[in-house]
Every structure is written in structure tokens, then in C-alpha cells.
């Protein structure tokens, strides 16, 4: 989420590799970069803020202790972390439902319906946001205008003063990057051209 956009062509990121190798500094870097995304995922899904913080903590602890299982060739670090976080969120939701259910058994209340957004959707969103932040400035800017402001390519060209052909090519390339990233790191299971990340 925090990849500095002023760096148009980010160098190959070695945090993931150092993380896997057990470099504790890389753990902190990963946390500084992706902790807010994991916390966002948890707070989006869990009503209880303390639970969300607990899940965030547990996610990073589990990731660190299980770093041997992280395969950077199969997906990004944030995608892997969000996969862990998503699973922990779901565990937590199930456990809460279970506790509630046991407590309420006497009254035979039905299991509380799962509310809130779909965790897969939140993960996908965060993955796309991360990739968007990594895009070269121009591509990112054009896509933000298209996504957030719902501008046509023509309008984007007018607003930015960038030639229409360039706008189109930025958007086309940006979309290709987002889609590729989503296919690798996105949460939803099921057939996708690029297969699934190994993190889940």
C-alpha cells in the first residue's frame, strides 16, 4: 500500500527474499508496508477491534514462523500475508460463531449469519491497491481518473493534457498489470488463467 509512487520503475524488491531468509529487519519492513493492509482486512471483517488487532498480530507471527512455506515465485509477500490474514479472520469468525452457538445452545438460537463484506473481495481490493501503488506514476494517475472519477479516456486526455493515444496505452498497460497481479495474488479460489498463489 505504501510503495512510493515516485519510483517509476521499482527495483526488484528483496524484502520478500530477505523475509524468507529470516532477516528480522525484513519482518519489520514487511510490517511497515503491509501491516495496515492486514489490519484493514481484519477490521473490515471483524466487528471487534481488539479481535482485528489480534488477528493482525497473529498473522505476522504465523507468517514469520512459517516463512519457510512462503514461495516468492508463486506470489507476492503481501498476497501471501493477506492469505494468512484472511484465513485467520475466518477462523476467528467461526470461533466466535461457535462460542456464541455454544453459549446460546439452550435457547437454540440459529448460528448468527455472517455479515460484512466478503473477505475475498477485501483481499482482492487490497492486492489491486498495492499493485496500483506500484505502477508507474502516469499509468496510476490515468487509472485513478478512470476508476475514481469515472472519466472517459477522452476526458482524461483533456484533463491531463496527455495525448489520447498515450492515455489509452497507459491505461491498457496498467489494466494488464492489475489483472496479472490479481490473478497471481487475488483471494478468490477457482480457475484463473494464472493459477493460484501457493499461499493458500
Amino acid at each position: 500500500m505504501t510503495a512510493p509512487p515516485q519510483n517509476p520503475d521499482p527495483p526488484v524488491d528483496d524484502v520478500a527474499l530477505r523475509f524468507r531468509e529470516g532477516d528480522e529487519a525484513a519482518l519489520r519492513e514487511a510490517y511497515d508496508r503491509y501491516g495496515r493492509a492486514v489490519l484493514h482486512l481484519a477490521t473490515s471483517m471483524l466487528a471487534n477491534r481488539a479481535d482485528a488487532e489480534d488477528v493482525t498480530q497473529a498473522t505476522f507471527v504465523a507468517a514469520w514462523l512459517g516463512r519457510d512455506t512462503f514461495d516468492p515465485s508463486k506470489g507476492s509477500l503481501i498476497g501471501w500475508l493477506l492469505g494468512i490474514g484472511r484465513r485467520k479472520v475466518i477462523d476467528r469468525m467461526r470461533a466466535s460463531a461457535r462460542e456464541t452457538r455454544v453459549v446460546e445452545t439452550v435457547r437454540q438460537l440459529p448460528e448468527p449469519a455472517q455479515t460484512g463484506p466478503d473477505p475475498d473481495r477485501v483481499v482482492d481490493r487490497l492486492v489491486i491497491a498495492d499493485e496500483l501503488a506500484r505502477l508507474p506514476d502516469d499509468q496510476r494517475r490515468m487509472l485513478e481518473l478512470a476508476f475514481y472519477d469515472d472519466l472517459t479516456h477522452q476526458q482524461i486526455a483533456a484533463v491531463t493534457g496527455v495525448p489520447l493515444g498515450t492515455v489509452k496505452s497507459h491505461i491498457r498497460r496498467g489494466m494488464a498489470s492489475l489483472k496479472r497481479r490479481w490473478e497471481v495474488d487475488g483471494a478468490a479460489p477457482g480457475p484463473r488463467p494464472a493459477g493460484l498463489s501457493g499461499a493458500r
Binding site: 500500500m1 488477528v55 512459517g66 494468512i84
Partner: protein, 305 residues
């Protein structure tokens, strides 16, 4: 007609233009192009939802403190969470040493100063009190060992050294492989041979409205298996499921299900803390696709070493 040009698909996905007649016809018949368009539309939809996600607030510092403390503890301690309680020292100890717990008192917070260089504020108090004892489900859904997440359980957690975690994960994997073939023993089968040491056990008694003739025994075997022996369980429309419950918090997790026989051997997660999850519970479950405990407990007992 050839596949649609990729640029066209992007523009269509963004609503930049409408599909022309020929394009619509092609999309109706071409799975490939349709899937591509759908994917691009999904991405565009997600993209529109990313507004604000670039400016998420930083997590509070105590989360990092908790991570650092938990990891320090996990890596500094030579013993295992999966180990049973101390009373087992009189058991014959054989086999690999990786799964032994270290005897003697375990300091609650052995690492006062997390090793991470960036831990700046001493907010350990917050990091303990601020983490509610969460219903962590040991081993569920994750195939690596992990520390426990709650402050309360952290206080009594016995951590993992890295080598031990690796060794035990491997051992547990091996155990699962074996158990997979013998998980439900024939009623009259002898226990597995050679008989592993029993490191904790619990007599199981009828719970709630279950007829008192229902009974059983649970034994935690050295090597991380739970041996269940049950008798006179009431017949149920569904199946029997075995749980470990933390009686303090009522958190629980499923260990597995019982087959038709009177004995079952179930693998325990390698990192389970039996001093916390000390209650063995056999429940009646319906085939209702709900993973949670039904609330219908048939047998219960408390593990003692």
C-alpha cells in the same frame, strides 16, 4: 471472427465503449474472450474500490510490540507448545527428543526486550492486555507451526525453537500419514504397537442429557495423537466429533470425527497447548455443513497428566 483485440476488451471493461454488433456476437460464443472481459471488468470494479486504500492508517504500535514479543518468545524457548504438562516426566521417554518439553518452570515473559531494533516504546503492558484471548484454532487451516496469539495464553506458552518446530512439523506430518490409514481402529483391534507412552488422559463421562451409560476414555499419546475409546454413545442422526476445549475461555477446536468403531486415533495439531485446551469433548454433529460445535455434547472429560 478472430478474438477481440485486447485493447478493445480493456475499453469495453472500463465502459469506454459499447460492444459493436460483431463484437457482441463474438463474445456470446467465445469463452476465451468472455472470460477475459469478465476478468477485466472485475479488475476495473476492484480498482474503483481501492479509493482510500492508499492512505490507510498505520496500525497501532502495540500490535508490533505484540508481534515482536511473541516471536521473541517463540524463538527463544527451547520447548514446545504441543508438549503435555509437567507430570509426564515420570513417563518413560523414548524416541526423538524433539517433542519433549523442557521441564521446570517456564518464565512467563522470558524476553523482556524484543529483539527488533525498531521497538521503541515499552508498551508491553498494552500488548498483553490489549490482545484478547482470541479463539485461536491451533493448526486449523494452516500447515505451519505458529505461536499463539492471545496475551493470556502467551503467558503460559512454551515457545518453539526453529529447529524444533521443523522437526515436530515433520514428525506430525509423518504421524498424520500413518494415522490416515489407521485412524479408525476395529473395535477389537489392539492399540497400535509399539504402544506409545500416554502423556495425559481423561476419563470421559456422559454430559448433559446424555444417558449416563455413555462413557469413554481419552489418552494423549506421546507423539501427538489422541486415542479415543468410547462406549454406549447414543445413536445420532449425524456423526460424532471430537473437540478440545479451553475451559477458561470456552475456545475450542475440532480434533476429528469418530467412525463407527469404539476406538479412534486422531492426530493433534503439533502446537496445541494441552494445558489450556484441557477438556476433551465428544459432540453429536449433523451433516449440516456447519463447522461449528453443535452445542450437543455427549461426553466430556478433563485431561490430566
Amino acid at each position: 471472427m478472430q478474438h477481440l483485440d485486447h485493447d478493445r476488451l480493456v475499453y469495453l471493461a472500463l465502459g469506454e465503449s459499447e460492444a459493436a454488433n460483431g463484437e457482441s456476437t463474438h463474445l456470446d460464443t467465445c469463452e476465451h474472450c468472455r472470460a477475459e472481459l469478465t476478468a477485466l471488468q472485475q479488475v476495473a470494479g476492484l480498482g474503483a474500490e481501492t479509493q482510500g486504500l492508499a492512505d490507510l492508517p498505520d496500525p497501532p504500535e502495540h500490535i508490533w510490540q505484540g508481534i515482536a514479543a511473541e516471536i521473541s518468545a517463540a524463538q527463544a524457548l527451547p520447548s514446545l507448545t504441543g508438549a503435555p504438562r509437567q507430570q509426564t516426566v515420570d513417563q518413560p521417554l523414548s524416541g526423538t527428543s524433539a517433542e519433549r518439553q523442557v521441564s521446570g518452570p517456564t518464565p512467563e515473559r522470558p524476553i523482556n526486550e524484543p529483539t527488533e531494533r525498531s521497538v521503541s516504546e515499552p508498551t508491553a503492558e498494552r500488548s498483553v492486555s490489549g490482545t484478547t484471548a482470541g479463539p485461536e484454532v491451533p493448526g486449523a487451516g494452516s500447515h505451519w507451526s505458529e505461536g499463539r496469539s492471545s496475551g493470556r495464553s502467551r503467558a503460559r506458552r512454551r515457545g518453539w525453537s526453529r529447529w524444533a518446530a521443523t522437526a515436530v512439523t515433520a514428525a506430525a506430518a509423518a504421524a498424520v500419514g500413518v494415522v490416515g490409514t489407521v485412524s479408525v481402529l476395529r473395535p477389537d483391534d489392539p492399540p497400535p504397537d509399539p504402544t506409545p507412552a500416554v502423556v495425559a488422559q481423561a476419563p470421559l463421562a456422559a454430559y448433559g442429557s446424555t444417558p449416563p451409560t455413555a462413557t469413554g476414555d481419552a489418552r494423549v499419546l506421546d507423539g501427538g495423537q489422541l486415542h479415543l475409546h468410547v462406549a454406549n454413545l447414543p445413536s445420532v442422526p449425524g456423526y460424532y466429533e471430537v473437540w478440545l476445549i479451553n475451559p477458561t475461555t470456552m475456545q475450542m477446536f475440532s480434533v476429528g470425527t469418530l467412525g463407527g468403531g469404539s476406538d479412534a486415533l486422531l492426530p493433534l495439531p503439533p502446537n496445541v497447548d494441552l494445558s489450556a485446551y484441557s477438556v476433551v469433548d465428544v459432540s453429536a454433529e449433523q451433516y449440516d455443513n456447519k463447522p461449528a460445535h453443535s452445542g450437543d455434547s455427549l461426553l466430556r472429560g478433563t485431561l490430566t497428566g
